[in-house]
């Protein structure tokens, strides 16, 4: 497949250029750099201090897609890290051992700061403690409590705001030498909200039949700018505007979802997917779907960097610190299991999907622990069949193409049978 021409849209080219520019900025040596995580990232706040954000998960993904992560993980394991722990962490540590080279071929500078946004994943905490051992740089923690009862309490919000005021902002001021300007933050947040509107429009466009987008494999690209270094920028607004136009055009033409090999010819199955994708065999994995005529109409992974559709959250410039708190509290993996179940079940119903597929990731307790129960609960609520596959994020040892394909094929057969029994028509 690698020698085939990959079909790309305008927005993809724009995004590629944005990412390249960002890596050039990070590796330029001219800006201060903070490492931080995708869930609960405080991009708008970092921009107030002209600090670039470098996201280790994204680096791990980049390395996985270039087939480099396997060697990095082994390197980390050789240096004493257990085979059992999250492979993002090991890919990151292994990357350091191998010279810390960014995707643009230049070395990453040592971070000026580790901004530990402890949101939705316990491993983050250990990950940055481990990086701190290496870089010995200032590290500031933002502890985001878990929304365990399905809602945010004032106590949680106040705690986060206080940490922002008393820990995070003073540290950022110190590192950057720039005084915090709340109006600058408001302006970025205003821009975030504009892009977020278009983002939600994009997510919901998959309600069309056929769906003009794939909201898992394609979705990870569409989420790129807003989940990473661009939320709050003009270029982010532009990107989502362009994406929206492209998708609108696809809807007008009645096109099925776009894939790397062009438009899907026919939409046979509409799925909701829970869990991150596998990155080491991303293209092969995707191919198994589009070759079978399966499109993902909604996925939880497109909510890890922020949930904007489920309860209509938008960054609110009128309450800048509180809105950052609410954003962090609301990311998908910071939600309790009943909320996650409700979200997935609603997706299945509202997007008229055939069922829930769970890609359970060995690395990730945050996502994976409890998924079998979630699947049964979603089945109960929707009456649609679920299926379960197991892979890993960036460790090639845990992607068995044959197994995954078998599982998917039987799942599609199961959906067919269900349809025959229920007499319902093919999705498209």
């Amino acid at each position: 497949m690698s020698d085939q021409k990959i079909v790309k849209s305008n927005s993809q080219d724009v995004q590629k250029e944005m990412i390249t520019r960002n890596y050039d900025k990070i590796t330029s040596g001219k800006v201060k750099v903070s490492s931080t995580f995708v869930p609960g990232n405080l991009n708008e706040l970092l921009m107030c201090f002209d600090i670039a954000n470098n996201l280790p998960e994204i680096n791990a993904i980049q390395n996985a897609m270039r087939k480099k992560s396997g060697e990095m993980i082994m390197e980390a394991e050789r240096s004493g890290h257990s085979e059992d722990v999250c492979t993002y962490v090991k890919a990151d540590i292994g990357m350091m051992a191998k010279g810390n080279i960014a995707p643009n071929g230049k070395p990453f500078p040592d971070p000026d700061l580790l901004l530990l946004s402890y949101t939705g994943c316990f491993t983050f905490l250990k990950w940055f403690e481990l990086l701190r051992e290496q870089y010995k740089c200032p590290t500031v923690m933002l502890h985001v409590p878990y929304a365990a009862d399905g809602h945010v309490t004032q106590n949680m919000r106040d705690y986060i705001v206080k940490q922002l005021k008393e820990e995070v902002i003073p540290t950022l001021e110190k590192i950057s030498g720039i005084k915090f300007d709340i109006d600058r933050l408001r302006e970025y947040l205003r821009k975030s909200a504009i892009a977020e509107d278009d983002l939600v429009w994009m997510l919901e466009s998959a309600k069309h039949k056929p769906s003009p987008i794939d909201c898992y494999f394609g979705g990870v690209y569409y989420m790129g700018p807003i989940f990473t270094a661009f939320r709050g920028t003009d270029e982010c607004i532009e990107y989502y505007k362009l994406l929206r136009e492209e998708i609108q055009e696809r809807i007008d033409k009645g096109l099925c979802a776009q894939t790397p090999e062009g438009d899907m010819a026919e939409e046979k199955y509409r799925l909701v997917v829970e869990g991150p994708p596998n990155w080491t065999s991303f293209r092969d994995f995707w191919q198994m779907f589009y070759e079978a005529g399966a499109v993902v109409v909604a996925s939880s992974y497109t909510k890890v960097g922020g949930v904007y559709d489920y309860d209509s959250f938008r960054h609110d410039p009128a309450n800048p610190l509180e809105t950052l708190a609410d954003y962090c509290l609301g990311v998908y993996t910071n939600r309790n299991l009943p909320t996650r179940v409700d979200m997935l079940a609603r997706n299945i119903i509202e997007y008229e999907a055939d069922g829930l597929l769970i890609n359970s990731i060995k690395s990730c307790n945050s996502f994976s622990a409890g998924q079998l129960v979630m699947m049964r609960e979603v089945e109960k609520l929707t009456g649609k069949p679920g299926a379960f596959i197991e892979t890993d994020l960036v460790d090639p040892r845990y992607f068995s193409a044959a197994n995954v394909k078998n599982r998917l094929e039987s799942y599609f057969q199961m959906i067919d049978q269900k349809r025959r029994a229920g007499g319902s028509a093919i999705a498209a």
Partner: protein, 391 residues
Amino acid sequence: MSTKTVKDIVANCQEIFEDLDFRRAREWKAAVPGRKVIGYMPVYVPREIVHAAGMLPLGILGGGADMEVIHGDAYYQSYICRIPRSTIELAITGKLDFVDGMMFPSICDVIRNLSGIWQLLFKDKYVRYFDAPQNFKDEVGGVFYANELRELKEGLEQLGGRKITDADINNSIDLYNENRRWVNRVYDFRSDYPWKAPSAEVYLLMRAGMVLPVEEHTRLMQEYLAAADAESRPVKDNCRVVLTGAFCEQPPLNLIKSLEMAGCYIVDDDFMMVNRWLQRDVPATGDPIDNLVKAFLHHSAETPAKYEDDINVKGAYLLNTIAKRGADGVIFAAPSFCDPALLDQPMLISRVEARKIPYITMQYAENSGQMQPIREQAGTFADSIKLWGAA
């Protein structure tokens, strides 16, 4: 003081340990109508507040080595540690049917998500995910934690149908202070005379504290210390080790026995941190919530479940324990698939290595069966320490 023998006491503890129906807790509950039992998982919950509500805090540490997990595997993938699956097994086989509520501390994402499973599957039960602050400043993490404790208190008041007064909590604080003092005495005694207090016995004694009412557990420790002190047992030429990493899923009792048989006296461990989490007495007068908060923020143990803000302090707790106990080495024993223990381990190892303290690492599951490799590994370790120490 009674004249119970070590054998009697240990047999009693062993019975409690093996009883997955939690008969003793059931009896406690049945003795007075309206009593309630609240289960909690590792690593720390303020049992004082549960006790002050007139309820029995019941430590749930999985199903142990002998329980067959039949249903649990349908709930958890193979790459997730064993404690949540055996805990679910306990619940769905009715062994926790008498438990009125469960507390899930913020130790890792597995226990965190287990709280969600409880919410989904046991809708009639009280479920509390117990979030503790990772910020240790009074006015930041302290305020958050105080409010969390108040919420917990209110939740238990609702469940129990009665107010919990400050005097109630202060009374409980007093009892748990007393209990902790005796726990520490047992640990000190074992460290001083490890041949008189084998670790398997101390372990069982502490496990009994997960089930028995606090006053009863305190009495049991008093009896044990008196009996163990009176008994003469042969001194062995064992080395002294601190065992760390086993703060959540518990190793099989056989593993603990095997280590000692192989020549390692365990002179400190982190098996049931809830017993020793707070490092000082909590003042039993004044505002109890405030006092519990301060104790948590400023005088609690370091574990992988906590963020250490200061890189220079990272690992200090372990190093201090090694020094205090005069240990010769460390055994890093972590449950398989345990992110907190396994991710923390390299950092602790680097501290230990820097001081040239010998160590070994091992992984286990609560139902690990094969002890031969463990015995061999620990035996070689003990031998090398003796050689190295003599050199």
